[in-house]
């Protein structure tokens, strides 16, 4: 998962199946290579192992987070890797956002959870857009380029069925019910996106998705100052960068068109996004 290498250890065989399914197109490295993060998801010991097995995430041998039911092992691995990246990669400004790209131009979809960014992202990457990330945008402040890791897309609750209906060919993990985020399933990233994983993209737009049941698609300009505050708020390490972070977010917002996009139907959304970068769709 460029630019990072993760080394996973586990005694949960189902986790290996999920990893093979979701990361099928990713390269497997030699054990002698440098790994950025050594992680482990393993069964908790004790009598519960045979009744209601729990699994725990370890970061390089140190237990992190509370143990969760073993069937949540793969979502837990994904969340754990997100945390590893967000907490240890301050060479980037890390924004909680989905990123998609077409013709070298990236659209950043920042949003608090529940605004439908993952659903929108999952739909669009099945219609010609390249996936950079559905969760973490890695912004290189010196080059003004954004990197993603093209990792599996995290879908929740109703989105799982909506995306399956919208793109019947997608490959998903079995749905895992009763997580802290509700029912969760992960979607395999498109092969074409994985093959171009090392290619960054130039941010061109910041689009705030806003799902509203029954709403007609609507694009509205979003103030640069408000967008600045949103990006700063949705960055994991804005405060670590201090002045440089302030300047970088300013630069990013300055370079991008900032809009808010209200929608209720993925087909309509697809049409609107098709016209976004060539300028035929205006706010």
């Amino acid at each position: 998962m460029h630019p990072f290498v993760v080394r996973v250890r586990s005694d949960i065989s189902r986790l290996a199946d999920d990893i093979c399914l979701m990361y099928a197109d990713f390269p497997v490295l030699d054990p002698g290579e440098f790994a950025d993060f050594h992680v482990e998801v393993s069964f908790e010991r004790g009598i519960r192992r045979w009744l209601k097995p729990l699994a725990r995430f370890y970061f390089d041998g140190r237990p992190s987070f509370i143990p969760l039911p073993a069937q949540q092992a793969f979502p837990m691995l994904e969340w754990g890797i997100n945390w590893c990246v967000a907490a240890h990669s301050h060479n980037f400004l890390i924004i909680h956002a989905a990123v998609i790209e077409r013709d070298g131009k990236a659209i950043i979809l920042p949003a608090p959870p529940g605004s439908g960014k993952s659903t929108l992202c999952a739909a669009l990457i099945n219609r010609g857009w390249r996936l950079l990330s559905d969760e973490l945008a890695l912004y290189d402040m010196a080059e003004n380029l954004v990197y993603g890791m093209a990792r599996p897309v995290n879908l929740k609750n109703a989105s799982i069925k909506i995306v399956s209906a919208f793109a019947p060919d997608v490959i998903m993990t079995p749905a895992v019910p009763d997580t802290t985020k509700g029912t969760v399933a992960l979607m395999r990233p498109p092969q074409a996106s994985v093959f171009r994983i090392a290619e960054p993209a130039e941010p061109a737009m910041i689009v705030l998705p806003n799902y509203q049941h029954g709403a007609d698609p609507l694009l509205e300009l979003h103030g640069k100052a408000q967008t600045f505050m949103l990006i700063a708020d949705q960055s994991f390490n804005y405060n670590v960068h201090g002045r440089a972070g302030f300047d970088a977010v300013g630069e990013l917002v300055e370079r991008c068109r900032c809009v808010r996009f209200t929608y209720s139907c993925l087909e309509h959304a697809e049409q609107v996004f098709d016209g976004l970068l060539d300028g035929s769709c205006h706010a």
Binding site: G32, D36, D60, S89, H90, N239, G242
Partner: protein
């Protein structure tokens, strides 16, 4: 003569094949010959020991950053950014604390990490920390607490037992957290608990403090006292996750202050005056044996009298040479867990007389049992 031989023989036995992180910090040039697998291990050990920022700072000072392969380079840059940010944040935090205290006319002494940063000591380069430790005269502790409360710090420990534990027996009030910044401050009135086996001459400690530039009510300990406090803290600590980092602090201070006139000659007499010969003994023993810190021969000789008895000395050496390593699977040989356990129990034994210790541990055991029962009861209620 016999002592010297013993020391030499111990030194040989203590020096194991040093961990990669220790080798890299002592001889940064060595990193240029490391392969990917070794870099992988070095970054992990550094991260676990909270020494990654220091390693990055050390490599940068030696102009070695450019030659490092991309993958580990990124982690070093990340750690350095974090450390620099904390350095900035700690200055701001100290300025807020100083302001709060000045309204009550309280002078305060910065301890440990915050002191190293504000005094711009080499050991602060790349160092990270989780809270600010300050020392105020015992007579002003109530005022200090009020001053902090007025300015937004709150105590998190509401439990009656915890309050009494801190206020009656410990050398600090319960840690306070700032409601908006989330920063933590530990306010001490002595450097060891009142109940500790070693009786520290705290009054003498307040006499030689140095004013900090830019403030009129903030001070740091003078170099000798800073070393003695750092040693006292490390060798009374029960949880040694940061033990190796603290040992490197001592190493750096000893190397740095050795240029000060009268530093070496004043160290042992001052330790005797304050009642801190034993911590100094351990500090010198383990910096010199584990980190090759240069120590004058005559000090080594004089200090040999300040050590514990033969068997205790062996036991402590066996424990500390295992515990003062990164708490990482790659540097935890057999018996490391036992060494850590023994030092944990020792730290409590050093801080409290036996009766109090039994009472304290019994209370903790009962309370956690009671909390568990309450939790189960609450769960049942929810289910019903």
């Amino acid at each position: 003569m016999q002592n010297k031989c013993l020391m030499a023989c111990l030194m040989v036995r203590v020096m194991p094949e040093a961990d990669l992180i220790v080798q890299a910090l002592l001889d940064p040039g060595r990193t240029s010959s490391l392969g990917y697998q070794q870099w992988d291990l070095l970054i992990r050990q550094g991260r676990r020991a909270n020494l990654l920022g220091k390693l990055a700072g050390c490599l940068a000072e030696n102009d070695l950053m450019e030659s490092i392969p991309d993958a580990p380079h990124r982690h070093l840059i990340s750690a350095l950014k974090m450390a620099n940010r904390q350095g900035l944040a700690i200055r701001w935090e100290v300025s807020r604390i100083a302001k709060a205290m000045s309204l009550f006319g309280i002078d305060l002494i910065l301890l440990k990490g915050a002191a190293y940063v504000l005094a711009e000591l080499p050991c602060s380069s790349g160092r990270t920390f989780s809270d600010v430790d300050i020392l105020v005269p015992k007579a002003r502790i109530v005022d200090a607490e009020n001053a902090l409360r007025i300015h937004g710090w709150q105590s998190g420990h509401h439990d009656e037992y915890d309050q009494r534990y801190y206020r009656q027996w410990m050398h600090e009030i319960p840690p306070m957290m700032h409601v908006r910044r989330g920063t933590t401050i530990d306010v001490h009135h002595a450097i060891l608990p009142e109940t500790a086996r070693i009786k520290v001459n705290t009054a003498a400690l307040f006499k030689n403090v140095l004013p900090l530039k830019g403030f009129n009510n903030v001070f740091v300990l003078e170099p000798i006292d800073m070393v003695l406090h750092s040693a006292t803290h490390l060798f009374h600590e029960g949880e040694l996750d940061n033990g190796l980092r603290d040992l490197f602090d001592l190493d750096s201070m000893l190397r740095n202050f050795s240029h000060n006139e009268g530093f070496w000659a004043g160290l042992l007499p001052r330790a005797s005056e304050l009642g801190l010969e034993r911590p100094l003994f351990y500090a010198i023993r383990f910096t010199s044996t584990l980190l090759s810190t240069p120590i004058p021969e005559n000090l080594l000789h004089e200090l040999s009298k300040a050590g514990p008895s033969f068997w205790v000395s062996h036991l402590m050496t066996a424990c500390y040479k295992r515990a003062l390593r990164p708490n990482h699977s790659s540097s935890s040989p057999r018996w490391t867990w036992l060494a850590r356990k023994i030092l944990y129990i020792r730290s409590h034994w050093m801080k409290m007389p036996m009766g109090l210790l039994v009472r304290h541990l019994a209370h903790k055991a009962l309370i956690s049992r009671r909390a568990e029962t309450l939790e189960i009861a609450a769960e049942r209620e929810r289910d019903a």
